[in-house]
């Protein structure tokens, strides 16, 4: 600029101070308004889920009646069970595939590598509705007619098509998270293992995999959360009968505003924050958290197995299959026992606040495992 000031203007001190104060005040007000805007609706949502009348505007008294209506809502429980089933299968398959893909892309050089890498990011960036209709058209106009003509099989949409689609959009997310972990990986550790006489497979099992675990578990929990939360792609690939949680909630939310939806939303809010919190603590890298999660999950499953054996036995509702399933759940205790020694070793090396967080992850994991077992076996 030609008119650069050569004489330094001297502002009176008081004027500068006043200006800064006004500026700071404006910034603070803006921040308060934004956080109010982001959080007040959620806070109100939670508060009115405990209202004792149908109003979502006037709080007349505390009650948990809307939560108990939820627990008796058969349609909702079915939807929750379906969501859980789809989410679990999706998580297992997409974590496995995503991890393998990340290993291949990070460790090997080959033709079309960058193209394939870009292709893996595509499902993350394109609008969800485009992926939804693409899958709808694929199933109805390509795959089902093909199956009919080639094998005489009549294809239908349902939970399986939802699962296939969820895996397709979860693979890229797992891939990105695991690959980030791999990129930070210190390969000299693997070389050290090789120098000490481990073969490739041993090195992978004893060195690479444990170090990757935080990324893998983080990716898995992210995949699970995304699958549980997805509405749009699910809506385009669903069958006629089965619903999932988001589909059920969407149908309610479109119809209107009731405290039942508030209660359901609150439950979901707590669940997904818990899950993502677990995912992030896992990714933060401390082995103590991943060990703690496996400890917690083992305890949760084991306890559920133990207690349900007693309650079912006392009511005489225990079948042979039920007993076998619950005995398998009891092995959760063995699993927990195996994780516990490792967990304690890691815990001893963690600082106090990390230790508290580690115990919290144990409890959340135990609660999540318990709830899942309850929903799937009820």
């Amino acid at each position: 600029m030609s008119t650069r000031s050569t004489v330094f203007p001297v502002y009176p001190r008081q004027q500068v101070r006043l200006r800064t104060r006004i500026g700071n005040w404006l910034l603070g007000t803006n921040a308060a308004l934004v956080f109010g805007f982001l959080y007040l609706p959620v806070l109100i949502l939670i508060i009115f889920s405990f209202n004792n009348t149908r109003s979502v505007a006037v709080f007349t008294g505390f009650s948990t009646q809307w939560y108990s209506t939820l627990a008796q809502n058969v349609e909702l429980l079915d939807a929750a069970r379906n969501s859980l089933l789809v989410g679990l299968i999706t998580t297992i398959v997409s974590t496995l595939i995503g991890t393998l893909t990340a290993l291949a892309m990070e460790r090997y050089r080959f033709r079309l590598r960058t193209t394939f890498d870009a292709n893996l990011y595509l499902p993350i960036v394109i609008p969800e509705i485009v992926m939804g209709i693409a899958l709808l058209l694929f199933f109805n106009q390509a795959l089902f007619p093909f199956l009919q003509n080639a094998f005489g099989i009549r294809g239908t949409t349902g939970l399986h098509t939802i699962t296939i689609s969820h895996i397709a959009f979860d693979i890229p997310f797992v891939y990105v998270i695991v690959r980030a972990r791999l990129a930070d990986f210190d390969r000299s550790l693997e070389e050290a293992a090789a120098d000490l006489g481990a073969d490739e497979w041993q090195t992978f099992k004893r060195v690479t995999l444990p170090l990757l675990m935080p990324g893998i578990i983080g990716g898995a929990l992210m995949a699970f959360t995304l699958s549980l939360d997805d509405y749009l792609i699910t809506a385009f690939t669903k069958g006629i009968r089965e619903q999932t949680m988001p589909l059920y909630i969407y149908s309610l939310v479109r119809r209107g505003v009731t405290p039942e939806i508030n209660a359901l939303s609150t439950a979901l809010l707590v669940g997904s924050i818990g899950l993502v919190g677990l995912s992030l603590t896992a990714q933060s890298g401390g082995q103590v958290y991943t060990r703690g999660m496996s400890l917690g999950a083992g305890i949760g499953l084991g306890l559920f197995g133990l207690i349900s054996i007693f309650t079912l036995f006392s009511t005489g509702a225990l079948t042979v299959v039920g007993l076998v399933v619950r005995l398998i759940l009891l092995t959760g205790f063995l699993w927990a026992g195996r994780s516990y020694s490792g967990y304690r070793e890691e815990l001893a090396e963690t600082n106090p606040s990390g230790r508290a967080l580690a115990w919290i992850t144990v409890f959340i994991a135990a609660g999540a495992a318990w709830l899942s077992a309850l929903l799937l076996l009820a």
Partner: protein
């Protein structure tokens, strides 16, 4: 078996990559190709496509048609479809503008706090990412509803006599979209403001620049990558949004997402829905690619 894999690098790679490649090619790339194919054929009478396929570019021409044949009645709205595209982009621009206008000062405010407060406030910005989008949209809906808290509050203060219709209009959709995507804008802008060396502002002041000029000539240019990232991260999902316009607009506000969805619902015009999806995808990809070309690896990593 294991020995074979151990010796042969090529087969190792094949074993690792084939499940992911197969799944993505079969359940992502192939479906997109089918969308491309269907966008070039005529529609069937009762939905689906006409068999055997009749090739046409009518589905793309229809976008620019003055008359909307797919809607009931022979209404001749002026450039209805392209108008909806333009309208969606305008809504997306308004939303992006507000997200940046409010998010930038917020990011600055957070970056000026003591470390412990900074972390706490950033967690507050991030938590919405963790919560179900549907639930958040509903949270806003129950506040704005006719029988909702905001109306009863305003009536309690005797500011209004009867409840306002706050939902099911463009205002509600815009507010809903800002509510949903504001955190997407704050994250990248915070990343670049946090790295900005504030002593440069003092240097500018010492050299005689008034605060506004120091901001315009020093701070804004240096934090521009974050602002551009915010622009892309908000504009791209908002322009193709479906859930927010559907819930907050109650079927009265049409955006590209709801228009596409309608073609697969009541309108049963799959080929036209396909062509619109591809145009939408192209728009989004152009934005993303332009962003990746313009930003350096370093700024993206910082996010």
């Amino acid at each position: 078996m294991l020995n074979f894999f151990r010796r042969n690098k090529g087969w190792q790679l094949f074993g690792l990559i084939s499940p992911g490649a197969l799944w993505i090619l079969l359940f992502f790339n192939l479906p997109l190709l089918i969308v491309l194919f269907i966008s070039f054929v005529e529609r069937g009478r009762a939905g689906g496509i006409k068999l055997p396929p009749v090739y046409t570019i009518e589905n793309y021409r229809q976008l620019f048609n003055a008359c909307a044949s797919a809607f009931s009645g022979p209404e001749c709205d002026s450039f209805l479809y392209i108008g909806i595209f333009g309208h969606s982009m305008r809504i997306a621009l308004v939303v992006t503008f507000w997200c940046i206008a409010v998010g930038y000062p917020l990011s600055y405010f957070i970056s000026k706090q003591k470390p412990i407060w900074r972390d706490a406030l950033m967690i507050l910005v991030i938590i919405p990412f963790w919560t179900n989008f549907l639930v958040r949209t509903y949270a806003l809906k129950q506040v704005l509803a006719t029988e909702g808290l905001l109306n009863s509050f305003l009536m309690g203060l005797h500011l209004i006599n009867q409840p306002l219709e706050l939902l099911f209009n463009e205002f509600a959709v815009v507010i809903g979209l800002i509510y949903g995507y504001l955190p997407f804008a704050v994250l990248p802008m915070y990343a670049s403001i946090e790295k900005f060396d504030h002593s440069l502002m003092e240097a500018a002041a010492d050299l005689g620049a008034p605060p506004w000029r120091a901001f315009l000539r020093v701070m804004l240019p240096m934090t521009l990558p974050g602002v551009i990232a915010a622009l892309v991260l908000v504009f791209v999902p908002v322009v193709g949004a479906f859930i927010t316009p559907d819930i907050m607009g109650g079927g009265k506000i049409e955006m590209i997402g709801t228009l596409i969805n309608r073609q697969f619902g009541v309108s049963r015009n799959w080929p036209f829905g396909s062509s619109m999806s591809l145009v939408l995808m192209l728009m989004v990809l152009i934005g993303v690619i332009a962003y990746f070309r313009s930003s350096s690896e370093e700024t993206r990593r910082a996010m």
